[in-house]
């Protein structure tokens, strides 16, 4: 079974006037910044890593589909990185 590691990331987000939260860009640990080109879907989906009721944002980043998770209670974003 594939294992994942939870990596918390810094995210710049937008609060649209119609409500909700939209990630704009993601700042990686090494200082690189990745623009979120599009948010394809948003919904409550359990993560593979430990997290209580996160919101999953399926995003297009660098032309590829990536999943960003928001833990609303702690107002914290994370991604899942496959680990060996």
């Amino acid at each position: 079974m594939q294992h994942y590691e939870k990596v918390c990331v810094e995210v710049l987000a937008r609060f649209p006037k119609e409500g909700g939260i939209r990630p704009v860009s993601l700042l990686w640990e090494d200082g690189r910044q990745f623009i979120v080109e599009r948010v394809k879907s948003v919904g409550r989906v359990p993560a593979h890593v430990g997290s209580l009721l996160p919101i999953r944002y399926t995003c297009i980043i660098g032309g590829r589909e990536k999943e960003l998770y928001l833990e609303r209670e702690r107002m914290r974003w994370f991604v899942e990185v496959p680990s060996s």
């Binding site: 409550r44 989906v45 359990p46 593979h48 430990g50 997290s51 209580l52 009721l53 209670e73």
Partner: protein, 413 residues
């Protein structure tokens, strides 16, 4: 028998343990038991996962007993805020299908989907959709029972676990619900089950077919109720979400971090509990309490209880503690040290009891003092003002009266 309604009973499987596994997926690989605080000696198994169940670990056991069966059992301290958050999220899913949701504890709900069938398909369909949605969105599983009444719906949700839907219909209830032990029926406790066994009743079907008159003779009016339940004649409405039930009692209990032997120590704990109960009583606006019940658990885990009237309706902590202590003195506890204590108050009178000569100045003063204390606690926290008696014990005086350590024990469901 009115079979027009469509009722679901949804039960979150191994709830506390399931939430812990969502929080930490590594726990899926090991047998776990969710326990109360071990340091404060709430080391009782509150829930377990399927792996622990396989070793025969049971809810309600003390941790060391469970470890005898399963030495590798991992104890995980309970995280109630997380369970509440999950429970709320799951109820929000139910609310997509109906506004008639009645909670039965943190992990069970009845849903009346009679009218929802026009929108979402029949009861079984709705149950399947709910089951899939809860799993997909929350990562925990539910067992859903479908029937025309609350009693059979609850029985049905217990038949197949985890992550399953079971239908008890007017066509199949004789082959399904009726085959179950009578003790599985809601509200049949140990003592009723024993009485039923004496009558030769072991299954729900036998209960249903038993002569109602004879049951009433044996069990009183309760006999009639159970007979109706067993026959699927139950028509109490599923309460609407947010429709609070009338609170009939307020109670708190506490397992002390050490065993108590001296009377003044016990009184100290009663005061601490009474303070909390009195605070909740004031907050609830239910008025004053006329009856105090105490529960005592000794070091052999034997439980004793007693109830008695207060001198007059009161919400004063000291008066409640005095009544509790008086009751305690009349208990025969076989002289064992005390491990846990509880106070519950009930029989509320809303209006102030007017003495023939009006309330004494002393009473007025005490009431004002109680309100001032409540005010200070609201503004600065529960530990901002404490009783000097309680401060004799450092550990006890550190307990936050309302948060965490003292559990609501006697609230009517």
């Amino acid at each position: 028998m009115n079979t027009d309604r469509c009722i679901l009973h949804s039960d979150l499987n191994n709830f506390y343990a399931s939430v812990e596994m969502v929080k930490n997926p590594a726990l899926r690989e090991v047998p776990i038991a969710v326990t109360g605080s071990i340091k404060d000696r709430h080391g009782i198994v509150l829930a377990k996962n399927m792996l622990a169940k396989g070793f025969g670990v049971r809810t309600g056991e003390v941790l060391w007993q469970a470890r005898k069966k399963c030495p590798a059992l991992l104890a995980v301290p309970a995280d109630f805020p997380a369970y509440l958050a999950m429970s709320k999220a799951v109820r929000a899913i139910y609310a997509r299908f109906t506004d008639r949701i009645e909670a039965f504890g943190i992990d069970e709900c009845w849903l009346d989907v009679t009218a929802s069938r026009y929108l979402f398909g029949d009861g079984e369909n709705i149950a399947q959709t709910i089951r899939e949605t809860v799993k997909r969105e929350c990562g925990v599983t539910v067992s859903v029972g479908v029937s025309w009444n609350k009693i059979f719906a609850k029985l049905a949700s217990d038949m197949k676990k985890p992550d399953a839907v079971t239908v008890v219909s007017p066509e199949n209830y004789r082959e399904t619900a009726w085959k179950l032990p009578a003790a599985d029926l809601l509200y049949v406790g140990k003592s009723t089950a024993r009485k039923l066994t004496f009558l030769g009743i072991t299954t729900i079907g036998e209960l249903a077919l038993y002569d109602e008159g004879a049951l009433i003779q044996e069990l009183g009016k309760w006999g009639k109720v159970l007979h109706e339940y067993a026959n699927g004649n139950e028509s109490s409405p599923v309460r609407e979400a947010g429709d609070e039930r009338t609170v009939k009692s307020i109670g708190n209990s506490l397992t002390c971090y050490r065993d108590l032997e001296e009377e003044d120590e016990i009184y100290m704990l009663f005061l601490l509990l009474a303070d909390s109960v009195a605070g909740r009583l004031l907050e609830s606006g239910l008025g004053r309490a006329g009856t105090v019940k105490i529960s005592v658990t000794d070091t052999d885990l034997r439980r004793y209880g007693k109830q008695g009237k207060t001198e007059g309706p009161t919400r004063n902590a000291k008066e409640l503690a005095d009544t509790a202590m008086h009751l305690f003195r009349t208990l025969e506890t076989k002289g064992k040290p005390v491990r846990a204590l509880g106070i519950t108050v009930c029989e509320f009178s809303e209006n102030e009891q007017l003495d023939l000569f009006g309330r004494s100045e002393q009473e007025e003063k005490r009431d004002r003092a109680d309100k001032a204390v409540a005010g200070i606690r609201e503004k600065y926290g529960n530990s901002a003002i404490r009783r000097a008696t309680v401060m004799q014990d450092e550990h006890l005086s550190e307990l936050d009266i309302k948060d965490g350590h003292i559990r609501p024990g006697g609230d009517a469901k």
